[in-house]
């Protein structure tokens, strides 16, 4: 039987697929009908997994840079050098950092975390997507104790009311988009809220096209309306939650006039949302939680709205952040953050920290470390050595800072421009070449089994990390990823019931999986919380970017079709790459979407050049006339290298600060 079941490794949905393995190569992919989430569906990316896995641009040998040029080396030599060099730094807390990958398996991620902390004594370890998903997890964790999606993708059809905020799920996580579409067809009411008329917006019952940057105000307004009309779930609030009064009071400063003028929506629209949400027996909310997720304050309003509506803690309900990368959730579960241990426990939790140092037989600093990007940006950080695992090319943006480092290591499967900056390059096996678990966005831990052999001599990452640790005199004795999972389970309450022999069939296990729920946990229940559910603290500030006389337009920044994660993986396929290039053929230098009315006013047509001018910079791009944006709002996809460097980098802080909702006031000039 040459078809082998597995887990799709692109986005955070965690769809099941089945790979056709012939002659040691992956020659095809097919959808897995029995998978509880994907149920026999895949998206355009998933249907071309085999094209990626056949890519020949792999790193096939360790390399060490000598006199500025790479020379092939043996694993032993490369690993010894890494262990020796990293061991030489006297102040590892400031001198060494590790950049982990949200695509690594849980086992690989865990061992990298253990390597950084227990062997090289630094807490400077982080994932690329520091802002987005972390914001969501912070809010959910503080409120409920569960640092993950409160609902389940399996239960989407059980939600009578579904709110989708911002992102175009049909593009970013198409199978989740599909589940929502199917739910709508089966009678659920789907409402989307965003500034673009996306496909998911077209498929929903109601699309509220609000002004860019006003989602938070919208959410606060719905909460306010809920309370004003006495539609909040008073019994639920009283019995299970704390912090309601504070939250209710914070909404007082929001006037009805502000709501309309900031969001551009009518009050009746907002009241309808509040009423529908309150009267539905079950409701879910979905929002993007990737590299550029929502800011923490906005997530807090989403969460609070659902708490006061009584729409968490039961089946068919939930506040559901959606991750864009296969193991972003697992990355946080594995403690790939400067201040976290596994299971989202803070490093400041003394008893947790002690359990780790006891189990590892080695201590680690008690102060939280710093994130890698933060350190690279800070010229006085003192950073000297950096270990990067399987990363998108976006790290190249930090090229100048990285070039100045003393020692850089790259561990990855595919050739990558970043590898050029490394002193040591160590190839790792691709994900189908060894066993590993991946945790998708609904806390679903799934085992992806080995299907093909790696190229001769190429090791999986867990072996590489083990090798480095042992060269540095640590005694790690894992003979398989299953051993690593056994250790994770021992140290992580939410994973305590998970082991490799538990994985049979398809669909995996949703954490928490412990003595109380050995079968795993589909959705958060009220009595799961150790104490009462807490409403999230909110700023109560509703300042928004507003257009001004000089810059009368609001520019949104976001994703485009087929563009996915800097295209690091997609460009290794044929069909998705062609689809991506199809856009580039028409708009080789990028585009700005504006409405037909605005194009008329500017006297420009599709593909005509315009200048976009903001306070910080300007760029020339082609116009794309679109019915997806409203007048006086414009949209640029951040998918073209030149655009990223030339224009958006000038707005970097503005964008990082605002997250997905990044808005730049601009004016547009005809060229």
């Amino acid at each position: 039987m040459n078809y082998k079941a597995g887990v799709c490794n692109f986005c955070g949905t965690g769809c099941g697929h089945i790979l056709n393995v012939e002659g040691g190569a992956v020659n095809g992919v097919f959808a897995l009908q029995g998978h509880p989430v994907s149920k026999g569906r895949l998206c355009v990316r998933g249907w071309h997994m085999h094209e990626l896995l056949r890519d020949s641009q792999r790193i096939d040998s360790p390399m060490i840079k000598k006199n500025g040029r790479f020379e092939k080396a043996g694993y032993d030599e490369a690993i010894s050098l890494v262990a020796k060099k990293l061991g030489e730094y006297k102040n590892p807390s400031s001198e060494i950092a590790f950049l982990a990958s949200p695509r690594s398996s849980n086992e690989d991620g865990y061992l990298l975390m253990k390597l950084a902390r227990s062997v090289f004594k630094t807490n400077n370890i982080s994932l690329d997507s520091e802002s987005g998903h972390r914001n969501s997890l912070n809010v959910l964790h503080r409120g409920t104790g569960m640092a993950g999606m409160l609902g389940s993708l399996e239960d989407i059809k059980k939600a009578e009311y579904i709110l989708v905020i911002g992102t175009d799920l049909t593009r970013q996580n198409p199978i989740i988009g599909s589940e929502i579409h199917m739910a709508a067809r089966a009678g659920s009411k789907v409402v989307t809220v965003g500034s673009k008329l996306t496909q998911i917006a077209k498929l929903s019952d109601v699309h509220l096209q609000l002004k860019p940057g006003s989602k938070k105000v919208f959410l606060a307004a719905v909460a306010k309306s809920l309370i004003e009309e006495n539609l909040h779930d008073a019994e639920f609030i009283q019995k299970h939650t704390e912090g309601f009064d504070g939250f209710a009071n914070s909404l007082g400063s929001l006037s009805h006039n502000d709501i309309s003028s900031i969001t551009g929506l009518g009050l009746e629209d907002i009241k309808t949302v509040a009423r529908d949400l309150a009267t539905a027996k079950t409701a879910m909310v979905f929002f993007t939680s990737g590299i550029s997720g929502l800011d923490e304050d906005t997530v807090s309003y989403i969460y609070n709205l659902f708490v006061i509506a009584g729409k968490i803690g039961k089946e068919g309900c939930g506040v559901n952040p959606v991750t864009g990368i296969c193991n972003l959730q697992g990355g946080y579960d594995m403690g790939l953050a400067p201040d976290l241990l596994t299971g989202f426990r803070p490093i400041s939790d003394k008893s947790a920290a002690k359990s780790f140092s006891d189990a590892w037989g080695a201590g680690f600093p008690d102060e939280p470390g710093r994130g890698v990007y933060e350190m690279l940006a800070d010229k006085s950080s003192g950073l000297k050595a950096l270990v990067v695992v399987d990363h998108d090319e976006s790290i190249v943006r930090q090229a100048e800072a990285i070039k100045k480092l003393d020692f850089v290591v790259y561990v990855g499967s595919f050739e990558n421009p970043f590898a050029e900056y490394a002193d040591v390059v160590i190839p790792s096996a691709a994900y189908v070449e060894y066993d590993g678990t991946y945790t998708s966005t609904d806390r679903r831990v799934q085992l992806s089994r080995k299907k093909t052999e790696p190229a001769e001599g190429v090791m999986p990452a867990w072996r590489i990390f083990t090798g480095i640790a042992e060269k540095a005199s640590a005694r790690w004795s894992y003979s398989s990823p299953a051993d690593v999972m056994a250790e994770i389970a021992k140290l992580t309450p939410s994973y305590s019931g998970i082991s490799y022999d538990r994985f049979s069939g398809v669909g995996g296990i949703q954490w928490p999986c412990d003595g109380r729920r050995p079968e795993g946990t589909r959705y958060f229940r009220v009595d799961d919380a150790a104490s009462k559910i807490k409403l999230a603290g909110v700023t109560g500030s509703f300042k928004t970017m507003r257009p001004s006389g000089e810059y009368p337009w609001l520019l949104m920044v976001g994703k485009a079709n087929h563009f996915w994660h800097q295209n690091n993986l997609m460009k290794r396929t044929f069909i998705p790459k062609r689809e991506y290039n199809a856009t580039l053929l028409l708009y080789p230098k990028g585009y700005v979407e504006i409405s037909g009315d605005d194009a008329k006013k500017l006297q420009v047509r599709d593909r005509w050049p315009v200048n976009i001018v903001s306070q910080y910079g300007s760029m020339k791009v082609a116009v794309r006339v679109s019915d997806e944006v409203r007048s006086e709002t414009a949209f640029v996809p951040y998918f073209i290298q030149d655009m990223i460097t030339e224009f958006l980098l000038a707005h970097n802080e503005l964008i990082i600060e605002q997250g997905e909702d990044a808005i730049i006031p601009i004016r547009i000039e005809k060229v």
């Binding site: 959808a31 009908q33 998978h35 579409h181 496909q199 498929l203 044929f574």
Partner: protein
């Protein structure tokens, strides 16, 4: 016409495996999903398994394959094309009738037109086909609407029908007959043919009402699609629900669009790969330079259904392109599998 005991039916496959690479329905254990593949051992073939999740077209038209490779030495100006494409002869054992119709569509399209596709021909020319009558329909089957089942009528070497304790084995070709005789199969009589008819009638009676109900509608919809008398709004409604994943094409027994890529290998040779493609993709019709004649997604959906359900395309297949297997309905994230599209068009016709 012959008979073979149920317990011995796989002996046919054993015999075929001496000459052919035998493919058949096999249930993958971890997922419990049926695939039409080469089994690890003939005993793994399960003739009672549900309709395979993927059509057997990959046996004659793989998802991705190298059709030749070449190398070019620019310094010496020497080009060498190595056409070493030689697939092994295959036997498709236990093929469902709809899927046989799919293979026949591919035959007529790849071989029966002005040009013969030599890659397809290589795969196909020695193929031995053994079909298996569906004694009951599976989820979302509607072959009764597209005249492609539940029992095969032509195009097989042997056709098997489960009569309870034994299979009726009908020979559709000389080599099929020769195999049956070589195996020493018992001759069947006219009573067995009647028994088969009862099995087929029983199967037909068990189709869901939506399938039987749609029977006449498929031809009316074909008429509409051929003449183009379908409102733009209908295509727009369908287009809005298209996720552009390509799944409908990949699981369709008769879809045959492909892409060609020249892929440079590390050893400086180049593979010319041919892989499945789909007309639902925006880049599919895009020409170098820019112009894309078929832009909005509803146009591209329109194109696919035109291909499945129009007289002009039927001329190439000598039957409708849709064989009623229902797989597109399983895999579609937008819930616009062909049966639903027929329903939407039908709704439009009746609302006038």
């Amino acid at each position: 016409m012959f008979l073979i005991k149920k317990s011995e039916v796989l002996k046919l496959a054993e015999e075929l495996s001496k000459t052919y690479a035998v493919y058949g329905p096999v249930v993958e254990k971890e997922s419990n999903q049926t695939f039409f593949v080469r089994p690890d051992s003939i005993g793994d073939i399960d003739l009672d398994a549900p309709i395979p999740s993927q059509p057997p077209k990959h046996t004659v038209f793989p998802q991705i394959e190298r059709i030749f490779h070449y190398s070019y030495d620019k310094g010496a100006k020497r080009a060498e094309i190595i056409a070493d494409f030689k697939p092994e002869p295959k036997a498709l054992f236990g093929l469902r009738s709809c899927d046989l119709n799919g293979v026949q569509c591919l035959d007529r399209f790849f071989i029966g037109q002005e040009f013969t596709d030599d890659v397809y021909l290589e795969h196909r020319k020695k193929t031995f086909i053994v079909t298996n009558t569906c004694v009951k329909p599976f989820k979302q089957c509607f072959c009764v609407c597209t005249d492609s089942g539940p029992s095969a009528r032509e195009g097989y070497d042997l056709n098997m029908t489960d009569l309870g304790d034994e299979y009726l084995v009908e020979a559709g070709s000389d080599r099929g007959k020769a195999l049956a005789e070589k195996m020493g199969l018992k001759k069947a009589g006219s009573g067995h043919l009647e028994a088969k008819k009862a099995v087929v009638d029983g199967s037909i009676s068990r189709f869901e009402s939506i399938a039987t109900d749609n029977k006449a509608w498929i031809s009316r919809v074909m008429n509409r699609i051929t003449t183009g008398f379908i409102k733009g709004e209908i295509w727009e409604y369908i287009g809005n629900q298209c996720f552009e994943c390509g799944a409908c094409t990949f699981v369709c027994p008769s879809c045959s669009c492909f892409n060609i890529e020249d892929v440079n290998r590390k050893d400086s040779s180049t593979d010319r790969l041919r892989s499945w493609d789909s007309c639902s993709f925006e880049g599919y019709t895009r020409m170098a330079g820019d112009h894309n004649p078929r832009k909005p997604v509803e146009d591209r959906r329109n194109k696919r259904f035109f291909c499945k359900l129009s007289y002009s395309q039927s001329k190439k297949y000598l039957r409708p392109g849709c064989v009623g297997c229902g797989r597109c309905q399983w895999v579609c994230p937008g819930d616009i599998g062909l049966p639903n599209v027929v329903t939407y068009i039908r709704r439009e016709i009746t609302s006038r």
